[in-house]
């Protein structure tokens, strides 16, 4: 493959063709895989199934090559690729050239299909000698989904569209996306969406082949956990980006696109819990297949929402090229899986009933209802504009207060169940045992609520107070679980406590990893409750040299500096912050102005009239953040800009550059009053610390799977061996 595309233009021009050819080959391979897998399943012929699996590997190889070609084009500024010309430029930093691929719809689709092909190949390789009834159908489902997305790229949104002649320079990446969080956030979110298709495909396989025991769940458990973790990381990075980059100081706004990622995460969380109930107790089978089908539908819906723009405006619907086909796929998946479940109800009967309310399964059931209830509320609120238009003909939308009204109480209850679940055993717990287990957590909750009421004004925010109390309950309950694990082992083996604890936890990492996730989520919810209830938020208008008091902090606007280089004009304010008469921090919130290509803005005006981005000045601490954003008033420059537009309309870039430099520096020396937003945000950092702890817990829970799978596989082989009357089946 030619790497030096810039110098061999003729060779480079063939690369778009090669990319399109690779996609076409991938589509053929994908369709073949789906057809061969169905054939193999119906004729019970392993050769067809093996051939289908190899075709899926081929799809993965072809798409990998396509991704490489596109990335090479981005890095080498090959503007024959329309995608490169639209989303990159020679001055874009290399890191953002590499990540510019998924700032477009076409590139995102390629990412979707590529990750799906890799994950499908992985799971099919791992199951190549197992689950002979389920796997052929799962292969067909995965290949069909993959072919759908490849087809979208061939017929609707071509990533290898060609420009002839190639422009000399590209448009560059949207300034807002030049942020490390935004570089990583989309692949995480998409990986999360994509990986849910693995448990979904195996569920469909199990339903079609009527192998409705827990084997499909065990096989795909880690893929579900991975999907859940990636989706969670995606949400986490997105909220952090919003907090640091968008200049409004919030991390969550109930925007349809945010909700689109939260809903599958919530239903997926319910799924991860309820499958444990099926594995241990053989109940909730219908519920589980329903949850995974629902999660997958919500993932497709998320992709659809981000890409179609249907919710901001009914008119944008149809303007997007992929909205229609995606909607058809969602309908097929939803109707198809409902039909499958209904026709398989006899195989999904529970093996027993829930014995007692004081059991882990009933706690999990309540937690599932809460999670699905949350997702339902968010779904209703997100789609309310469409619902209201359907019934009343007018488009009404719901704002954050409506969401808060429902989500807050459900979320608060969930904190409590995060602690209750781990305490209760499967089956039935005696009243005595329950009292013993609950004693310390309840005392901790009562004590923390009492202390907060006594020393703070938390009494005015009852929901936040409940969150703090329930989180204390959860954290103490989880600490008790770890203590008991160590103590039990010490009593058995006589090992010292730390070693006993480490061994006990290591032996059951899935369980204790899950507890770590719970602790992380409790911390995150503390951060959310504290920062949303006890935030101090002030908008200030200051001249250089003026001070203002916000909460305990005194803010002194010292000076303004201008930096008109690096493709943008940056105005940076220096704020000296004191607390109790002592220096606390120096913050440098800034505003960056990027030039617009709009010629009507004028030769000089175009440098000030384009997009602007905010760099917040942030001082983070365990107790909370001091968050500042800055908005200079550049309207006083207007007379100079008008004059400059006239005088320098035909001047070269050097003269314009000098003029802008002079303008910016003069403005910085005598700036008019500027607007500042200052937020004192207590405990807000714990949102992301808690989330990171949660991710660590999820990794811990997923890790030992190799070992446990080996054990499981051994048991499975032994059983198979017994059934076949052979000593050992072929490895």
């Amino acid at each position: 493959m030619p790497v030096e595309v810039r110098h061999h233009d003729h060779g480079a021009s063939q690369l778009t063709l090669l990319g399109s050819a690779l996609l076409a080959a991938a589509l053929i391979a994908g369709l073949y895989a789906a057809g061969a897998a169905v054939q193999g399943a119906r004729r019970h012929d392993r050769r067809w199934v093996d051939s289908a699996r190899r075709a899926v590997y081929a799809v993965a190889g072809l798409l990998t090559a396509a991704v490489v070609i596109l990335e090479v084009a981005f890095v080498s500024d090959d503007f024959h690729f329309a995608l490169v010309a639209d989303h990159s430029s020679t001055t874009t930093p290399t890191f953002y050239k590499l990540t510019a691929m998924w700032s477009s719809q076409e590139g995102s689709l390629l990412l979707w299909a590529w990750v799906l092909s890799l994950a499908s190949s992985g799971v099919l390789y791992m199951t190549r000698r197992r689950h002979r009834e389920i796997v052929p159908w799962a292969t067909a489902v995965l290949a069909a989904i993959g072919s759908f997305f490849i087809g979208l790229m061939i017929f609707k949104a071509q990533p290898f569209a060609r420009l002839d002649p190639a422009p000399a320079e590209g448009t560059g990446l949207t300034p807002l996306l030049r942020n490390p969080y935004m570089a990583v956030h989309p692949p995480m979110l998409y990986s999360g969406y994509v990986l849910w298709s693995i448990p979904f495909a195996f569920c469909v396989g199990a339903l079609i082949s009527r192998r409705l025991d827990a084997s499909w769940i065990r096989t795909t458990r880690n893929f579900a956990l991975c999907a859940w973790t990636f989706l969670g990381i995606g949400l986490l990075l997105g909220s952090r980006w919003s907090y640091e980059e968008l200049g409004w100081g919030g991390y969550w706004g109930w925007d349809p696109v945010e909700n689109a990622a939260l809903m599958p995460w919530l239903v997926g969380t319910a799924f991860l819990h309820s499958v444990m109930v099926q594995e241990k107790r053989g109940i909730l089978k219908v519920w589980n297949v329903g949850l995974i089908c629902g999660t997958f539908c919500l993932c497709l819906l998320g992709t659809f929402l981000v890409r179609s723009g249907v919710l901001q405006s009914i008119h944008a619907f149809g303007a997007s090229t992929v909205g229609g086909p995606l909607l058809v796929l969602i309908a097929v998946v939803a109707i198809g899986s409902t039909l499958l479940i209904v026709t398989r109800l006899d195989g999904l009967r529970p093996e027993r009933r829930v014995d007692s309310l004081l059991s882990r399964e009933s706690i999990f059931l309540v937690n599932n209802v809460l999670l699905v209830g949350l997702a339902t509320v968010i779904f209703w609120g997100t789609f309310f504009p469409l619902i209201s238009e359907f019934f009343t003909g007018e488009k009404h939308s719901l704002a954050a207060p409506w969401f808060d009204r429902y989500v807050t109480p459900l979320g608060v209850l969930l904190v409590l169940f995060t602690g209750l679940g781990p305490l209760f055993a499967w089956g039935r717990l005696s009243g005595d045992a329950a009292r013993r287990l609950l004693l310390w957590p309840v005392l901790a909750a009562a004590a923390s609520i009492g202390v907060l009421l006594a020393v703070s004004d938390a009494g005015g925010h009852p929901w936040a107070l409940f969150v703090f109390g329930f989180a204390a309950f959860t954290l103490v309950a989880l600490a008790g679980e770890f203590r008991r694990a160590g103590a039990t082992r010490r009593a058995l083996t006589g090992e010292p406590f730390p070693r006993a604890l480490a061994t006990a936890v290591g032996r059951n990492r899935r369980r204790y990893g899950g507890y770590v996730v719970h602790a992380g989520i409790a911390l995150t919810l503390i951060g959310i409750a504290a920062s949303s209830s006890f935030q101090t938020n002030r908008d200030l208008r200051l001249r250089v040299g003026q001070t203002a008091k916000v909460g305990d902090y005194t803010i002194d606007y010292r000076r303004l500096s201008a930096d008109p280089r690096n493709e943008r004009i940056a105005f940076t304010a220096q704020l000296d912050v004191t607390r109790d008469g002592k220096h606390f921090a120096t913050l440098n919130p800034a505003r960056n102005y990027y030039p617009t290509q709009d010629p009507s803005a004028g030769a000089i005006g175009r440098y000030f009239m384009g997009e602007s981005t905010s760099e917040v000045g942030l001082k983070t601490g365990a107790g909370g953040d001091l968050w500042t954003a800055f908005q200079p008033d550049v309207s006083t420059l207007n007379p100079d800009i008008v004059r400059g537009n006239r005088m320098l309309a035909n001047a070269g870039p050097v003269a314009q550059g000098i003029a802008i430099d002079v303008l910016a520096q003069r403005y910085a020396q005598h700036p008019p009053p500027a607007s500042f937003r200052v937020i004192v945000n207590p405990l807000v950092g714990w949102i992301w610390i808690g989330a990171l702890i949660g991710v660590a817990g999820a990794v811990m829970a997923g890790w030992p799977a190799l070992e446990s799978r080996r054990r499981l596989e051994a048991a499975y082989r032994a059983r198979l061996g017994r059934e076949l009357g052979a000593a050992n089946p072929p490895a």
């Binding site: 071509q158 949207t174 996306l177 509320v377 309310f384 009404h396 409506w402 429902y406 008033d633």
Partner: protein, 135 residues
């Protein structure tokens, strides 16, 4: 109490809770929502009523004066521009040509936005259209 009767009671309780929640959801959502309108529709709308104005920022119409931001919003096809005054946080993606949403009221032909109500679309969605090149 025999177990099947107990289960039936539980089911009825759960179902009625779900129905209550659903009714609450429907009722509050219709009473708490604000209506979205485009500039061409808002000209004929009730002047004292609060609406969400959605549309495109007219290129060349944006002026900052102190804290106040003045601009015009047109329908998506560029027709029927109406003047808007707004104070408060301006989200970063705000720029001429972008689609925005402002909540507020129509006063004497000018749409007066509520403080901090300006919303712009998530950038990943319009990233493809920044150049206006149809791909």
């Amino acid at each position: 109490m025999d177990p099947s009767r107990k289960r039936k009671i539980r089911l009825v309780v759960a179902l009625s809770a779900a129905v209550l929640l659903a009714a609450g959801l429907v009722y509050t959502s219709f009473s708490a929502s604000t209506e979205a309108k485009e500039p061409s529709q808002i000209l004929h709308a009730d002047p004292g009523h609060t609406y969400q104005l959605t549309g495109k920022v007219v290129p060349g119409s944006v002026h900052h004066s102190g804290d106040q931001l003045d601009f015009r919003i047109s329908d998506r096809d560029g027709s029927d521009p109406i003047p808007v005054t707004y104070t408060g946080t301006v989200p970063d993606p705000f720029a001429p040509g972008r689609e925005v949403i402002v909540t507020g009221k129509l006063e004497n032909g000018t749409f007066v936005g509520e403080r901090d109500s300006l919303v712009t679309k998530c950038p990943s969605k319009f990233a493809t259209t920044t150049t206006g090149r149809a791909s």
